[in-house]
Structure formats: C-alpha cells, structure tokens
C-alpha cells in the first residue's frame, strides 16, 4: 500500500467499498472473484483481449450482433494466429446454438436479458460447464432487469 495522503486514503477506501458492492451485486464471492475498475465495458474487454494467451490453436467465438468493442477483440486474436468464428444471431438477438458447435477457447456472449435466452455458443446453457471444457466466456453485460424474469445468476457466468 503506497497511499499516503489523506485524500488518497479516502479515495482508496471509497474504491474498496465500491469493489465490495459490485461483487455483492453479482453474488460473486470475494475469495474467488476480482473487480478491476475500468473506464467502461470496452476498457474491460480490452484488458482481457490484449492479455489473453491466444495461440494458433485458439478460436475466438462471438455473435454476429456483438458490440463493435467485442468485434475489435478479434484483432488481438488474429495477431496471435487464432481463428475467429462468428455465430449467427437470431432475429431477436442472441446466438443460435445449433450454429455454435465449434470447439472454442474463448468467446463473448451478449447478455441483454437473461443467459437462458442468450445461451452459450457451444450449445451449453451454462458458461460454468463451458468453462469445464476449456472454454472461457466473457459476458458483455448489458442487462436489463425485468421483474417478470427470474433473477440473474451472476456467479455462474463469469470466467
């Protein structure tokens, strides 16, 4: 801890409290998850994209209706020789799981409403099970909560 000034200490305390509240909101245990503050979602995705160990055997999988910031991550994948695979989107958004029978290493899902409606590109609904098959899932979180929907289970959809 290098912080010394009073204002820095106050700012650090504020940031730590915000970290704790973000984890609580997503039901993510602090022992397992980390919150990295960024300027926005694009910055968060860039952090992953530029540091992900893509190889020539990797596949970067994303939906055709992805945000441009998600599309842009393919530049990192291509630069390291990875394959880029797009999954067809449905007329109402999300991905068509039947189009997604590929062995991905890393993918972006777009979660606008509920993970069950978006699915996961390898045909598995749960990114947790996807993770067990050596696939990493990053959610572009644009979530609109609806009182009529089931609560979003955040702790099963992160990396």
């Amino acid at each position: 801890m290098r912080i010394t000034s009073h204002s820095s200490q106050k700012s650090a305390k504020c940031a730590e409290e915000a970290r704790t509240r973000v984890l609580a909101f997503f039901d993510a245990p602090a022992t397992e998850y980390t919150v990295v503050f960024t300027s926005n979602a694009t910055g968060a995705m860039r952090l992953v994209g530029e540091a992900f160990p893509f190889t020539e055997g990797s596949t970067y999988v994303l939906g055709m209706d992805s945000h441009n910031s998600v599309n842009g991550i393919r530049q990192f994948a291509l630069a390291k020789g990875a394959r880029v695979a797009y999954i067809a989107s449905t007329p109402v958004g999300g991905v068509d799981e039947t189009e997604a029978k590929v062995p991905p290493v890393f993918c972006f899902c777009r979660a606008e409403t509920h993970p069950a409606s978006t699915g996961c590109p390898n045909g598995q609904q749960s990114p947790t099970s996807a993770h067990s098959s050596a696939m990493f899932v990053c959610i572009d979180g644009v979530i609109q909560r609806d009182e009529q929907q089931e609560p979003f289970v955040f702790d099963s959809i992160c990396f």
Partner: protein, 77 residues
C-alpha cells in the same frame, strides 16, 4: 463479465469494471506495465515485479474516484 456501470445501474457514467475469476486473471499475460501495476522496476534492465493485489496489476488507466463515490451514493439509497 465486462460492464459499463451506466448500462447496468443507470449511473454513474465514466466507470465500468471487469469482474473475473482470480484463476482466469492469473492466466492472462499483460503486454505492458505502467504506474501502479508494478511495485519495482529495474532500471536499467528488464526486470519488474507486479503489484501485490490482482486488481492493481490490471488497473492501468486511472479512473476518477468521483464516479465510484457516485455509485456508492446510489447503492446506499
């Protein structure tokens, strides 16, 4: 999960975050370092040590504290 807070909570703008498993972050290899992402940098030389906290290793670009404080105000309501 990558989020912009204003898209998730409606407020504040100018701040977002990456929520990720520690085990995943441990597999990432940062292409560079800057500011507080490292503790010690060898000069001249090529050595450096990463910051102790995982989030410190990734928070390259400083985010103004005011949006985070704004989020706290909202979440406390």
């Amino acid at each position: 999960m990558a989020i912009s807070f204003y898209k998730m909570f409606g407020f504040p703008t100018g701040v977002g975050c990456l929520v990720a498993k520690n085990s995943f972050l441990g597999q990432l290899k940062r292409p560079w370092f800057a500011g507080g992402t490292v503790d010690v940098v060898q000069v001249p030389g090529t050595g450096f040590t990463l910051a102790q906290e995982i989030h410190e290793q990734f928070e390259v670009l400083s985010v103004s504290p005011s949006p985070k404080c704004g989020m706290l105000k909202v979440s406390r309501v």
